[in-house]
Symmetry: C2
Subunit: 442 residues, 2 copies
């Protein structure tokens, strides 16, 4: 071979990065580009350089070293700067992120974004713009932080018939549920600990009520099934009503409670439908998702040929998320040198199955009067709505009793109708938690 | 936008696949291409067609439908056929696979291979040929079957400083160890069960002695550290000497025994070194690798920024492995349309740290005479070789006693010298199993 190794003979020109936002993730990225620059150049043949950084305040200390003139408050100028080859967006939120990304794409610049909210609401618009212009739009960091899940779904599983994806994609709620499970603390105590450790915001709504996981579920479903799902399509329930008693009940049934994002591809009367929901679920202790503890994330993928897969790691934090952005950045830079780009191939709008028509096995606890005939009247209600009981245990508490049961797979609407009628029974004091169950799909 | 969608307006010409080998994986691939062809075309814009299939026997029933004239015994003719755009090699072994792949690359045809043995021995030669010619050489299926691990290591973690990878990459041995752990069976019983279920070969040497895992370790280390490691660099010990007593000891210490492929990047006196070994290891029950049961595989990756990652799934079997080949095939076909290709970027030859200089904590069991002063004489031997004891338990068995201990991180050579001297002590009946420990790196 007489041809010289191209990267050795003639070092490629630096790929100049314009960074929009320099918070937790942005600052981590600046540090990583600095420490990894030589290793990346040696390995991938691209020399990364952070040329411009747009921030809201020029005076805040971000703990990163940047040359004079790099920082600016004018994000649009960074996007338009001819000295910027690639744009990284870590501002978050819908606007101005959406407009800035569209401007970058229009200028022919690849974009890397970690913005789940934007992708879950306007992903199709951005993907169409990127495909049309022939530039990369990469977003590994938007779902499950440092875990490579977007690229496997887009590329490795491109030929696979994915039927279901279940993810623990919110570290805050997984931390809270782990504490409740392992230490026996209440929800309020575990939330307070998460807040004191910086895992939960002062207003934890976005995490604990499932909004954050819902946005990620929309992105996962879109990629897994090649069809467009938006945040508004996702039914969600949070963990704020999970009690220590629920956790103990789950344990007695050899299950743990996890907040899951569940994406299913189903056959409907008019073709393929997609069901997407976020809710607490009982997971058998032997299921790989049950072992995902603390603030870790994991995405469990079920495919017809490939079987079960799981991707596990840190779902948040500056460094893990920065690492995911950096992987995308290297990819985009290599593509830029080659004149290539990845295709997203987002399909048409998904047919969403309404939550009422989705199916799952359910766990219920029912407090009743301890009197003969009570169980028969309860069984009659289940029968009336076509909900079949899989297993049942009854325990006395003074002159009352608690019935704990798991149903076979049932329609949500039928289960809700059952619960409404149970509440009307004079012998029923209270229907407690209703929790969907994974792995009992009989 | 006036430009028409290219794939919609003008369906791309089929990408014609030449398949070398039609055993388990090849037959699965033929089936998958048939059932998934339309879905792949709709999503990725490539139409895959299996044009030629080279086999050893034309008469054997493979359970697949192939048009007349597709089957041939002439593999070289398939590679050379101008009607073949992409070559898939699932023959296995070094020759003629190596020559066929080099011929395909020389002809400018992308190659997908599942051949771990070939890659672990001649990967650098193949990668250099592919990079020079500018064609894809993809091999997701060569390590851990259906689990996407090659693409994440090559692309997602391209910027990451990976420090260690530990993998359960052999399903046969994981099945055997799971049975021994969960059912209390002996190694021989579990092996017989694995053989009767078709998980183990009649001659199980390649699996149970760690050769198979060693080849995969070489490939993983090469990609994780960007430096060339070959099968011969990998130290390996198998599981055939693991006893039910070892499994019970591990359980009493809240550990499970797994056959691990361990790849570490270390600093040596002359720069970076790579340590690669395959051996049974005690893994703490709370470690994510401990929950990987039955014939499942998993690869655990530790990086400076990204933290801990794990990739879990089916490591073998026609369908899972075929799914991985199909993912690569779609990728190669899309690249072919774009005139692009992936770069492997294999670095120079790795500096391998010899096994004697590698370090680990160790578990040992020592049968001794139950007499005062015995422990002191044993402690003296450890001290002489600089091996520090982390924890120790002693239990009497009649007039003998068993000492079970875990050391701090120690050099292999020092540990071996310690064991040699222990065996010379008159008070030591027997030094039993010596098992490396994960997660006690104090």
């Amino acid at each position: 071979v007489t041809e010289p190794e191209p990267s050795a003979a003639r070092p490629a020109a630096p790929v100049r990065v314009g960074l929009l936002g320099c918070g937790n993730v942005g600052a981590a990225l600046v540090g990583l580009v600095e420490t990894r620059r030589e290793a990346i150049a040696a390995r991938s043949g691209v020399d990364l350089e952070i040329t411009r950084v747009a921030v809201r305040s020029l005076t805040r200390d971000r703990g990163v070293k940047l040359a004079d003139g790099v920082l600016t408050t004018d994000a649009a100028a960074v996007v338009a700067d001819p000295e910027v080859d690639v744009v990284v967006e870590v501002i978050g939120g819908i606007e101005p992120a959406r407009e800035l990304i569209l401007d970058a794409i229009a200028a022919g610049k690849p974009v890397i974004t970690a913005n789940k909210e934007l992708l879950a609401n306007h992903g199709a618009e951005l993907a169409a713009a990127a495909d049309e212009k022939g530039v990369d739009l990469l977003f590994e960091a938007a779902v499950a932080g440092g875990i490579p899940i977007i690229r496997p779904l887009r590329e490795s599983l491109a030929g696979e018939d994915v039927t279901r994806v279940m993810g623990i994609v919110n570290g805050t709620t997984n931390f809270i549920l782990t504490r409740m499970t392992e230490e026996g603390t209440t929800y309020a105590e575990a939330l307070a600990e998460a807040q004191s450790l910086g895992y939960a915001e002062r207003d934890p709504t976005a995490d604990v009520e499932g909004y954050d996981a819902g946005a990620k579920a929309a992105i996962i479903a879109s990629l897994a099934f090649g069809t467009r799902v938006v945040a508004g399509d996702v039914y969600h329930e949070g963990i704020s009503s999970i009690t220590a008693a629920d956790i103990a009940s789950a344990a007695s049934l050899d299950h743990v409670i996890k907040l899951l994002a569940v994406c299913e591809r189903l056959e409907g009367p008019d073709g393929a439908e997609v069901a997407v929901r976020v809710h607490p679920a009982m997971v058998p202790v032997q299921h790989p998702l049950a072992g995902v503890r603390e603030s870790f994330n994991a995405v469990f993928v079920e495919g017809t040929a490939v079987g079960d897969l799981m991707f596990y790691g840190r779902g948040a934090g500056g460094d893990p998320t920065g690492s995911a952005v950096l992987g995308d950045l290297v990819d985009a830079a290599v593509n830029l040198h080659k004149g290539a780009h990845a295709t997203i191939g987002m399909g048409g709008r998904a047919q969403i199955r309404p939550i009422d028509d989705q199916q799952s096995p359910f766990y219920l606890s029912i407090d009743v009067v301890d009197r003969p005939g009570v169980l028969r009247s309860i069984a009659e209600v289940f029968e009336r709505h076509g909900v079949s009981i899989r297993s049942l245990e009854q325990e006395g508490i003074g002159d009352a009793a608690r019935i704990v049961m798991i149903t076979h797979r049932a329609r949500e609407a039928d289960l809700q109708a059952t619960v409404t009628d149970l509440r009307d029974l004079p012998t029923v004091h209270r229907v407690g938690s209703i929790i969907r169950v994974v792995g009992a799909e009989g």
